[in-house]
Structures are given as structure tokens and as C-alpha cells.
């Protein structure tokens, strides 16, 4: 399966499956969708999705998901990876719950393509929503099988058997018991049930829904946790790779002789891949600097100032994402009309761990340890590049040091595999920070244009929305508007040929940060014009009960009191939906009008994510989203001219620091009876809008472009 085929679909956003009929689902996603597992009969789209995945599927045999060892420990196998989002804990909770074993006996085996069931990748807040149910069903089935085996062993009727912490006992004679370990004896269990047992109801939960500390912390605070760059193989070499100075440059000539002169250096030149290898990484770096090159440089046609006009010029006709009523009728009803344009710059993923991989190729078999969000995708890519069958490629994913969408691209793993084959030795490719910035698939620069209108009573009567190049995720409004149309153009976050001067990709909640910033700014502009408090204006224009509930929960916690903006208080709010989760955020900012500097003092975020497997982990993700989101709101942007990237390290590319920290409070709506929704991304989507609205409330200055740097705040303040 080609990367494009699976990635394209999966950054689309859709809610969890349970409450949707097939027709609803197709309506939501526009058809041609893909579903990620096939446990039980609940899925009407199995055949269609299997075709899209060319036969790849989550297996039905529970043995693929878990193994009970003779010592009583349980291994849980998942193609998902751990990059900080905490599924190493929450998936173990789900397994422990359904199998009735204690959480500390569960060992997670993640992202190993030889051991784990196929998986599309870890992104889109999909793990808990789509793999979770498959895992729970597998564990419930395994539990039922073990009870059958115990009934034979104990010669007790099944109805009399209970389980606690991996021990099956006879309820009437508690000393009459047997452990799972004894029953399974570390082997695969070759007994299957005719009827799949149900998973537990939320009233039966003892592990799910309980705030649980991360299970990977001990390894991470002692330095024991292994990341891809920490793997050491005998005879391994460290690679440094020649990169063009700017994107689009063509190599004219190369002279590697001086690099070759360094003792122990091996120079590899294979088509576009020119690399120096050495047993010390710093020696390889020295050798790389000795390579002499000449490049043909393309002329720059666009830069960070002109990019927005360029994007508008090259944008194709868009596709209608959603519409209702009749825009012309809406215009006629309006007493005030608003036409605004919102911009956001390119943003880097910049995980603290750069892309890293180490590969060993022996006898046509490749083993690659990679920092990747898509191990099974990497497997196919590497098989194709090396020209070997994909079953000969094994990807092992150690802990991943942050991904945020950036590590769905596996270029470094492919480079390591190619070099390991050519050098006939294990090779580590660990990108430098400069390479990480240069090769990143940035969140695309994007434009949103909105025309909207309200009537005399402050009701929104029409909404005409077009998003260029961000993608449609989060573009659909959820307000009660009779006449509306939402259009997306530009091919989503990947763009179209000729649009972006370098690679773009999915960045945490792809598209939704752009869309939510634009929508929620526009809502506030209308509220202000209507002379209404922005919270009340939203309530007036909302019918969606879930959204009203999260807004009220946020307002309660924040202590929101009504005032027309700008009130001088520096209060803002923003709400949105991502990965099926509803989020409302309120913030207080302080703005230095002269300097343009914005300090966020306080953030309150309320979230309805349905059933929360690990409420503590969910809150940790919300806090992470809020803190990370300060960056794209206030400072993060890539400066460039043509293919030349000017921000190549953290000196000029500013990510959030300790001194930026607002007081953060999170509220999880109690919705343990509702289907599980996404958790790793939703809370980030409000950060642009909430800060833009709070700045306006503080000083009456509206910022239309992200990030809201001191320069932009200052210059906008001078104009008003």
C-alpha cells in the first residue's frame, strides 16, 4: 500500500463510529472512507475498507493482540507507537479491564511490525477510538476462552466462575482456583468462541476511567528508555548526509576526496544519496563539511510575505464541504455584513527528538529501528526502495520523542536502510536539528476568507466560508445558521504541485487550528458589532447541546462575566470540534501595547471526549495542547525565500518556554457512557482563536494573521 493512499484518508476527521448509521457516515466523509478494524459484525463498511487497504486489516484472532506468559505477565501487541501521547498506559488499561488482570502485569509491545497486528499509523487521534475497541473485544474474547478452559480444569460450571487479577476461581469455593498463566502456559490458545462475548459496561469498570499515572515514567526518568538513536549495534556506523542548500537546488558537481582522507570515513554515493559514514558521529560530521559541492539554485518566486497572494492565485476551484439554505436569501436578511481574511504561516513540528533510524540489512532482510508514527508504512517504503519483499522488512519502533504528525514521513528510515545495504554494516541516520527543520513537512501556510452576516437581533443569518490550503478538518461550523456554505480548496495539507516551495504535511489536528482560528475570530467580530458578550452571542447562535455544555463548563471554571468586547479585561474564548471531541477554551491575556508582547495569564479548557480511558492522561494531553498551542499562536513561523529556509534551529524558531506558562485548568465533562473520542489533538485547536479574541478584548486590536508576533501586534495597534 502506498503511503499517499493511507495517509490521505486518515487525517480526515470523523467522530467515533457507534452512533452513526452508514449513511450518516458516508455523508460526513463524502464517501470512499476507510475503517480501521473489523471486530464483530458491527461494521457495515468492512468490505469497502478492506479493499482500500488491499487486504490489510486488524486481525480477528485475539492471539494477535495479547499473549499470557508462564510467569503470569501479559504482553499486549499493538502497531500503535508511544510518542508521549500516553497510549502505552491507556491501551494497557483497556486490556487489563477486559481481561481482568492487574495493570502492572501488562507489558506493551508497540510498533514492531513482526510482532504486532498491522496498523495504519499513530495519528488523527485514532488509537483510542479505533484500535481501543478492537483490543477490548480481543481481550474480552480471550477472557471468555480462559474461563472455558478453567471450567474444564476446575470441573466447575462456567456460571460459577469469577476472575480477579488473572486468577479464575469458583465463586462457591474460592480456594478452588487456577491462574491464567497455568491455563495458557505461554502458548497461543487455539480455542475460539462461536459467539463473541460483549465488552464490559461502564458500570463494571475498575481500571478504565480511573486516573492512572504514566507507566513509562520510570524508564524515562532514569535514562533507560530507548529512543531510536539510543540503539547500539556491533560495528555500526553513523551517517551524515549531503543536503542541498535550498529546496529545489540541483547538484552540479561534488568532490568528496577531502572527506575520504579522514581516517575511517566511508563515502557512499548512490544517485541522489551522498553520505559519509564513520564510527563516531562527530567525525562523520567533520567529513561532511569537507565535501565540496556546486549547486544550481532555482530563482525564488515566493517568500513568507508573498506566499498568501501566491496561494490565492494558484488555488483551484474548491469543493463544497457542507452547505444549507440559500446564501442569497441570507444576505437579504442581514443588517450587518462582515468580510474578513485570515492568514497563517508555515509552522514546524520540531519534536525535540529529530528523525532518527538505525538499519541493518543482512541477506536480503532489513531490520530498522525508527522514530516513526507509521511503522507499517515505513516497512512498505523500505521494501520498495531496497527491492525486497515487504515480509523481509521488520520495523521496530522504540519510544518516539514527539511526532505531532511530522513522523508520518519516514525519509530518515529509508535513508538508513539504503545506506546499511550499501555499506553492508548497520547504519544510524540521526538528523541534525538543521536537517529536521529543512526536511520537515511543515503545517501549510493557509488563507481563510469568510463572509457572514447578522440580523438586528444578533442572529447569524448567513455564513460563506472558504479555506485555502489548510484542509477541511474543522472547517464546518456548528452554529445554528440558516444559510451557509463551506468550501475547501488547495488539496488539503499536502497542497498541490506549484503551491508550496517545500514539503507540507499534517500537523497536530491538521487544518483545524487554521479553521478554528478563523471561525472563532469571525464570531467574535460579529459579537462585538452586535454589542453582545462573546459568550452570550455564541449561546444565542448555538443549538448543539454538547457545545453549549462545554462552553458553560469552561465559563463556570473561568468565572466568565458578561461584557461587550473590547472590555479591557483581556478575556477571550474559542470553541471547536476535533476528532469527535468538543472543546471550549477561555483565556486571559495581558498585552503590552508598546512592545506588542502578549502574555497569556490563564487558560481554562473544558472538553467532552466521551468515555475517557485515563482521565489523568487526557488532562495531560489537554495541558500539552494548550502549552504547545501558545507557539503557533504567538511566535512560530517559518521564514523563507523560495526554497531557502531561514529558521533552522531554536534560536530563531521560538517554541513555548517555561516563562510563557499561563495558569492552566482543565475540565473533563463527565460522559463515561458516551462513545470514546479523540484526545491527543482537540485542545490545541482553540489556541489561535482564544488568544486573538483575548488580545482584542484587551486592547481593541484585531489580529488576522497567525502567529501574533510582537511586531504584528505593535503594527496593528498603531493602525487602530
Amino acid at each position: 500500500m502506498k503511503k499517499d493512499e493511507y495517509l490521505d484518508l486518515d487525517f480526515k476527521d470523523f467522530p467515533s463510529p457507534a452512533p452513526l448509521s452508514r449513511r450518516d457516515f458516508l455523508k460526513l466523509t463524502g464517501g470512499g472512507i476507510i475503517i480501521f478494524f473489523s471486530v464483530g459484525e458491527a461494521w457495515p463498511f468492512q468490505e469497502e475498507s478492506r479493499q482500500r487497504r488491499r487486504g490489510f486489516d486488524y486481525p480477528e484472532d485475539f492471539n494477535a493482540y495479547l499473549r499470557i506468559h508462564e510467569d503470569g505477565r501479559v504482553s499486549c501487541f499493538t502497531g500503535k507507537i508511544e510518542m508521549g501521547q500516553g497510549v502505552i498506559t491507556s491501551l494497557a488499561q483497556e486490556l487489563a479491564e477486559e481481561l481482568d488482570v492487574s495493570l502492572d502485569t501488562v507489558d506493551m509491545v508497540m510498533g514492531d511490525t513482526d510482532l504486532c497486528p498491522w496498523d495504519m499509523g499513530t495519528f488523527g487521534s485514532l488509537t483510542t477510538r479505533f484500535f481501543g475497541p478492537a483490543l477490548r473485544a480481543a481481550a474480552a474474547e480471550a477472557r471468555a476462552v480462559l474461563i472455558e478452559l478453567a471450567a474444564d480444569y476446575l470441573k466447575s460450571p462456567i456460571e460459577r466462575l469469577g476472575v480477579k487479577d488473572g486468577v479464575v476461581f469458583d465463586e462457591s469455593r474460592k480456594e478452588h482456583k487456577v491462574t491464567y498463566a497455568k491455563l495458557a502456559q505461554g502458548k497461543m490458545i487455539e480455542r475460539h468462541l462461536k459467539k463473541k462475548p460483549p465488552v464490559k459496561k461502564s458500570s463494571e469498570f475498575t481500571v478504565i476511567g480511573k486516573p492512572t499515572r504514566r507507566t513509562d515514567s520510570l524508564d524515562k526518568v532514569t535514562g533507560k528508555a530507548k529512543f531510536a538513536g539510543d540503539i547500539r549495534l556491533p560495528g555500526m556506523l553513523y551517517a551524515r548526509i549531503l543536503r542541498p542548500p535550498i529546496h529545489g537546488a540541483k547538484l552540479k558537481s561534488v568532490d568528496t576526496s577531502a572527506a575520504n582522507d579522514i581516517k575511517g570515513v566511508q563515502v557512499i554515493q548512490a544517485g541522489d544519496l551522498i553520505s559519509v559514514l564513520h564510527e563516531c558521529p562527530d567525525e562523520a560530521e567533520k567529513a561532511l563539511r569537507k565535501i565540496k559541492t556546486q549547486f544550481d539554485l532555482p530563482e525564488a518566486t515566493v517568500d513568507d510575505q508573498t506566499i498568501f497572494d501566491h496561494l490565492l492565485k494558484v488555488a483551484p476551484e474548491g469543493e463544497i464541504v457542507d452547505q444549507g439554505g440559500n446564501l442569497e436569501s441570507g444576505w437579504k436578511l442581514a443588517s450587518a455584513i462582515f468580510e474578513e481574511t485570515y492568514l497563517n504561516s508555515y509552522v514546524a513540528h520540531s519534536p525535540i527528538e529529530p528523525h532518527t533510524a538505525i538499519a541493518e540489512v543482512k541477506e536480503n532482510k532489513a531490520t530498522v529501528w525508527a522514530s516513526t508514527q507509521t511503522p507499517f508504512g515505513a516497512k512498505e517504503e523500505i521494501a520498495e526502495v531496497l527491492g525486497i519483499p515487504s515480509q523481509n522488512v521488520r520495523i521496530i519502533t522504540p519510544f518516539v520523542g514527539g511526532g505531532f504528525g511530522g513522523k508520518t514521513a519516514n525519509k530518515q528510515a529509508v535513508e538508513a536502510a539504503r545506506l546499511a545495504k550499501l555499506a553492508a554494516k548497520p547504519v544510524q541516520v540521526a538528523w541534525t536539528r538543521t536537517e529536521e527543520f529543512f526536511n520537515d513537512t511543515f503545517r501549510p501556510a493557509a488563507v481563510v476568507k469568510i463572509k457572514s452576516g447578522i440580523d438586528d437581533s444578533g442572529k447569524i443569518v448567513f455564513w460563506d466560508y472558504i479555506v485555502y490550503f489548510a484542509g477541511e478538518r474543522g472547517s464546518q461550523h456548528f452554529y445554528d445558521i440558516p444559510h451557509h456554505r463551506t468550501v475547501s480548496t488547495g488539496g488539503g495539507w499536502r497542497g498541490i504541485p506549484g503551491a508550496h516551495p517545500f514539503g507540507t504535511g499534517a500537523w497536530r489536528a491538521p487544518g483545524n487550528n487554521t479553521n478554528t482560528h478563523a471561525r472563532e475570530s469571525q464570531i467574535d467580530i460579529m459579537a462585538s458589532k452586535a454589542g453582545l458578550d462573546p459568550f452570550e452571542f455564541r449561546l444565542k447562535n448555538l443549538k448543539d447541546k454538547r457545545m453549549i455544555r462545554v462552553l458553560e463548563a469552561a465559563a463556570d471554571k473561568f468565572g466568565w462575566t458578561p461584557a461587550k468586547a473590547p472590555s479591557g479585561r483581556g478575556y477571550g474564548l474559542s470553541c471547536g470540534i476535533d476528532a469527535g471531541t468538543y472543546v471550549a477554551t477561555m483565556a486571559e491575556v495581558e498585552v503590552d501595547r508598546q512592545q506588542g508582547k502578549v502574555q497569556v495569564k490563564q487558560v481554562v479548557c473544558a472538553q467532552d471526549m466521551g468515555l475517557s480511558i485515563n482521565p489523568e492522561g487526557a488532562k495531560l494531553q489537554m495541558e500539552g495542547c494548550i502549552t504547545m498551542g501558545l507557539g503557533y499562536a504567538l511566535t512560530e513561523e517559518i521564514h523563507f525565500k523560495g526554497g531557502e529556509i531561514f529558521d533552522l534551529n531554536f534560536d530563531t524558531y521560538e517554541i513555548p518556554r517555561f516563562s510563557w506558562l499561563p495558569k492552566i485548568e482543565t475540565v473533563l465533562i463527565d460522559a463515561q457512557e458516551s462513545p470514546v473520542q479523540g484526545g491527543g489533538e482537540p485542545a490545541i485547536i482553540n489556541m489561535g482563536g482564544v488568544i486573538a479574541n483575548a488580545i482584542y478584548d484587551a486592547i481593541g486590536v484585531r489580529l488576522y494573521q497567525l502567529p501574533m508576533t510582537p511586531e504584528r501586534v505593535r503594527s496593528q495597534a498603531l493602525k487602530t
Binding site: 499515572r213 526518568v221 530507548k226 562527530d282 525535540i352 519510544f399 534551529n649 531554536f650 534560536d651
Partner: protein, 151 residues
């Protein structure tokens, strides 16, 4: 001295400590994050002072005591900071964590009872992309409090 044991290294004295630790000594707790001293993922202690090991040449550690994250727990007992990081979930991906803990350790050596503001100032140059900052500050505060209680 490295984590309390004498270590002899031969070779280029201008080499950066990070590479010697990670490749020669296979102590991979100190991480490469930016290579230019901006992020703090490579932080280790030299004579109880937090340094950026990617910018610290070997010649400057000669005869000195180096402490890496692998040497912080004593006889299998975690340091109070390590315990506090676990108890507060003060990490996500964990890549910046060794540098965070060692920087905080050096901070507490100098100032055992830092105010919240002093913690923030002291940690300012250590970057975390996951946004664990709030918990990290809480963990350092809790560790400092516990250290005082035990004294």
C-alpha cells in the same frame, strides 16, 4: 569521574562530551536535540554545574566529576526529583526529561528552596515540545519541599 566511577578516554580533546557519552560510553540518557546548546536535552552535570554536553569539549571535563541521568539514582533508589517527575506525570515523550531533571537538580543544589518564579527562570533554557511544563514546575516544587522535610 563519571557517575562516581573513574573513566579514562583517549583521543581528540576537542570532542564534545555528548558524543563521547553516547557513542564511546553507550550512556544514551543525554540526548541530542539541537546540537547548538539551545534546547538542553543534552544537559549533564560537570562538578555539580549543569552544562550543555553538545557544546562542552572533553578537555574541560578532565579531572572533574560528570553526572549523567544514569548516575542520579543511588543504589537503586530514585532521586526525589525522579520520584516527583513520576508522581506528577511531569513528562510525555520523555526525550527532554533527562536534561530537565539534571537541570532542576543543579538548580536545587544552588537554591534548595526556589520560588516558582526562580524555578521558571532556572528552567527557561530547557525546551519541551510536548508541553509538560506545568507538571515539571510542580514536580520540582514538590521535590524541593520533600528535600527540605528530610533535612
Amino acid at each position: 569521574m563519571l557517575n562516581g566511577k573513574p573513566v579514562r578516554l583517549t583521543g581528540d580533546r576537542e570532542r564534545m562530551l555528548l558524543w563521547a557519552l553516547r557513542s564511546d560510553l553507550s550512556l544514551t540518557g543525554a540526548k541530542y536535540g539541537c546540537g547548538e546548546g539551545y534546547c538542553g536535552a543534552c544537559t549533564v552535570l560537570v562538578n555539580k554545574e549543569a552544562v550543555r554536553s553538545c557544546q562542552f569539549p572533553l578537555k574541560d571535563v578532565e579531572g572533574k566529576e560528570v553526572l549523567t541521568i544514569e548516575g542520579l539514582a543511588k543504589n537503586g533508589d530514585l532521586h526525589l526529583l525522579q520520584k516527583a517527575f513520576i508522581e506528577h506525570d511531569a513528562l510525555q515523550c520523555g526525550f527532554c526529561t533527562p536534561g530537565m531533571i539534571l537541570n532542576a537538580y543543579s538548580l536545587l543544589l544552588k537554591n534548595p528552596q526556589p520560588s516558582r518564579q526562580e524555578i521558571i527562570q532556572g528552567m527557561e533554557e530547557n525546551l519541551c515540545r510536548c508541553g509538560a511544563h506545568t507538571r515539571i514546575v510542580q514536580a520540582i516544587q514538590a521535590a524541593a519541599k520533600e528535600m527540605k522535610r528530610r533535612r
